[in-house]
Amino acid sequence: MTMSKKIINEVEKIDKDEPFKKLVLDILDLESKGTHYFKSKCEELVKKYIDDNRVGVISNDKD
């Protein structure tokens, strides 16, 4: 199932950097494929995002 334009537009509008937006789209793509290995793939994506972008510990207060 391809992602609808509406969802892609909404992801573009979020107040986060580009790599994070790409992460969101990748995760949605994973969910749309209905894979039973969602968990392991999602963890891979998140770890890669953290490594590639040298993420520190983010406070989620404003979230």
């Binding site: 199932m1 509406k6 963890e43 510990v57 979230d63």
Partner: protein, 671 residues
């Protein structure tokens, strides 16, 4: 635009053998099928529903309905023939075709009661197959046959939960505005517009964040901030002990030197020379006995250990030895036989036995070979038992010596104790004597003073020696504790870096959950607003009243309300025409917002609509058909002048459906 390209019927009710194409000829995608009541308009709709869902939703009473197989086909078939009912729906979606094909087989037999032919289903349910292939090539077709796959394909295009929003019955709107229906519509809209996708992704991320949070809590539980204090304390203690021992090590020689000087002075003083000599002799003897006693204690430990084991195993040793002896006595342990000799007799084909001179015929040779085989197996056992027999006998013998060895040990122990005691007593006596010694000689040594000093130094040396030993033991224990704690520190450090990684992951999962939920909410709001706006726009265009209605609202459950200018809810008071317009408007808005521009098939599209509304609706539907395929099923009466004026020269096709003279099947369709 998703379009129905073709529908093919085989033996489906009155559609015995029928193909209907929907070719695009102009800018309007309205396709009209006209038929008198009872010809097959609703059957046409049911055919599509049966193809997609296996259900004919527009049959009023199944219990009184005919079987789906065409009756004339049954009567024309032979007994035991197998007939197939098939409906095949071909749609186009951008650059590909998707074909939905459902079939059901029937076998033909005779009804014993009526003696007429009857058709019986050969399988309990019909079979759906879906094929997908690019428009320019049939070679790359993908075929879906499993229930899950076919259901998924149907759901992508024509979700069964909201079938009535694709295959519309203009005569049957009574459930259209039902609350339960609204719930299904909402779910379907969310499914089609992928709101459910966001919902599921968000739940999964939330699940992962909970998991990471739990892992982090566990890791927090493992950290012990006091461990560094413990390490520091042990290291400090060890330093103190080491320093103490260093002091002792530096003080001891001084004391020993002084002791030697004192001994020398006392030895040099003639009146007590003998006493001092005796003391030195006793000291030497004491040290020697002490050393022997230490060695003796080591042997005593070994004695205890040995006999502890022996006595524990004694019952088994005894029973094993008894068993071996029994087997020997009863000849069960085979006698020693020279295997090599037997092998030579066999290999060299010796004619007579060297022992008894008997003939070594084939039978004897066979027997000898068997004997060798048996020996092979039993020899191993025999050898093993023989090898352990000696050890077992020694063990039994040793057990018998226990009492005498024990007696020796006790005597020895007593001897050392008594001897050492005796020496100690004599040394104390000498020391006492010397520490109270006086004589008349003046200017020579003060024996008692020297002796007292000597005694003090000796005691101090003894204390220091014991202290030194105890400190060394403590240092060893502390070092073991230190190693253990340092292992824990390494574990904690590893833990800390894993914790940091977990904290980062946790914060990302939480962010993802929040963001996905926000996107979902935004999308839901947007969809509702869009559907509401589009429904209102189309509704206003379809009805003739321009001053009555003020607004239309859709709540979170997708229930519609129409308000008049006084803001009173008029939904329940709408006329049949207005209800129809509202139903159309909402249906079209749902289609548009779902992002999937699916066709609309409507039975009696304007049946309940009259007068000016009819014209308005027809025009509005024509306009909509520029971007959407609409297939309409009219009766001749419904296809009134107002409608024909609008549609005759504009729509893509108008076909009339009629029955054959025997009314058993549909005639071939003409354009």
């Amino acid at each position: 635009m998703i379009k129905i390209e073709k529908i093919e019927f085989d033996n489906y009710r009155q559609y015995k053998n029928c193909i209907i194409n929907f070719e695009n000829k102009n800018e309007y995608n309205i396709y009209i099928l006209r038929a008198k009541n009872g010809t097959g308009k609703t059957t046409f709709l049911n055919g599509i529903l049966w193809c997609l869902y296996g259900n004919e939703y527009y049959i009023s009473d199944f219990s009184k309905a005919l079987k789906i197989i065409n009756e004339s086909a049954v009567q024309e078939a032979n007994i035991d023939d197998v007939l197939e009912v098939k409906v095949r729906l071909t749609i186009s979606d951008d650059d590909k075709y998707v074909i939905f094909e459902r079939s059901q087989k029937f076998s033909i037999s005779i009804d014993p009661l009526t003696e007429l032919k009857k058709a019986v289903q050969t399988t309990p349910k019909s079979i759906l197959k879906v094929m997908e292939n690019p428009k320019n090539s049939f070679e790359n077709a993908q075929v879906y046959e499993s229930d899950d796959d076919t259901l998924s394909m149907v759901k992508q295009y024509f979700d069964e939960d909201i079938y009535s929003y694709y295959f519309f019955d203009g005569e049957n709107l009574k459930n259209y505005f039902d609350k339960n229906n609204a719930g299904k519509v909402k779910e379907s809209i969310y499914s089609l517009s992928q709101v459910n996708l966001l919902s599921n992704a968000s739940k999964r991320c939330e699940g992962l964040s909970v998991e990471k949070s739990r892992e982090l809590t566990k890791k927090n539980g493992f950290s012990d901030n006091t461990i560094y204090d413990k390490i520091d304390k042990i290291q400090d203690d060890n330093e103190t002990l080491i320093n103490n021992n260093k002091s002792i090590a530096s003080e001891k020689p001084v004391l020993e030197l002084r002791l030697a000087e004192l001994n020398s002075q006392l030895s040099g003083y003639q009146p007590i020379r003998d006493k001092q000599a005796r003391r030195e002799e006793l000291d030497k003897r004491f040290k020697q006995l002490k050393s022997e006693q230490i060695e003796f204690y080591s042997k005593k430990k070994e004695f205890i250990r040995t006999y502890l084991i022996l006595f524990n195993l004694y019952p088994r040793i005894k029973s094993t030895l008894d068993m071996i002896k029994y087997k020997e006595e009863h000849g069960e342990l085979p006698p020693r036989i020279d295997k090599r000799q037997i092998e030579e007799l066999i290999n060299n084909h010796v004619k007579n036995c060297p022992m008894c001179d008997g003939e070594l015929n084939d039978h004897a040779i066979l027997h000898m070979k068997q004997l060798l085989d048996d020996l092979d197996i039993s020899s191993q056992a025999s050898n093993y038992l023989s090898s352990i027999k000696g050890g077992l006998e020694s063990a039994i013998f040793k057990c018998k010596k226990y009492e005498s060895e024990r007696k020796n040990i006790l005597e020895k122990e007593k001897y050392y104790k008594e001897e050492l005691n005796k020496i100690e007593n004599e040394l104390n006596t000498i020391s006492k004597y010397l520490s109270t010694y006086t004589d008349d000689s003046i200017g020579l040594i003060d024996v008692s003073k020297l002796e007292r000093e000597r005694t003090n130094i000796q005691e101090e040396l003894d204390i220091k020696q014991k202290s030194f030993g105890a400190n060394e033991k403590l240092i060893e224990i502390n070092n073991d504790k230190l190693n253990e704690l340092q292992k824990q520190v390494k574990e904690m450090e590893k833990n800390a870096s894993e914790k940091l990684a977990l904290q980062k992951q946790l914060s990302i999962y939480r962010s993802l959950t929040t963001v996905l939920n926000q996107i979902k909410k935004n999308l839901m709001d947007e969809i509702k607003i869009e559907i509401q706006a589009n429904t209102w726009k189309t509704f206003k265009n379809m009805i003739w009243k321009k001053e009555t209605f003020n607004k239309l609202e859709i709540n979170d459950d997708y229930q519609m309300s129409v308000y008049n200018n006084n803001l009173n809810d008029m939904t329940g008071s709408l006329s049949a025409t207005e209800s129809m317009a509202l139903a159309y408007s909402f249906t079209l808005a749902v289609h548009e917002t779902s992002g999937r521009n699916c066709p609309l098939v409507v039975d009696s599209p304007l049946g309940r609509v009259s007068d000016e509304n009819r014209t308005n609706m027809a025009k509005e539907l024509l306009k909509i058909s520029k971007n959407k395929q609409i297939i309409m099923l009219f009766t001749p009466d419904e296809y009134s002048t107002e409608v024909s004026d609008i549609y005759d020269n504009t729509v893509a096709s108008i076909r009339d459906i009629s029955l054959t003279d025997d009314e058993k099947e549909i005639n071939k369709l003409e354009v």
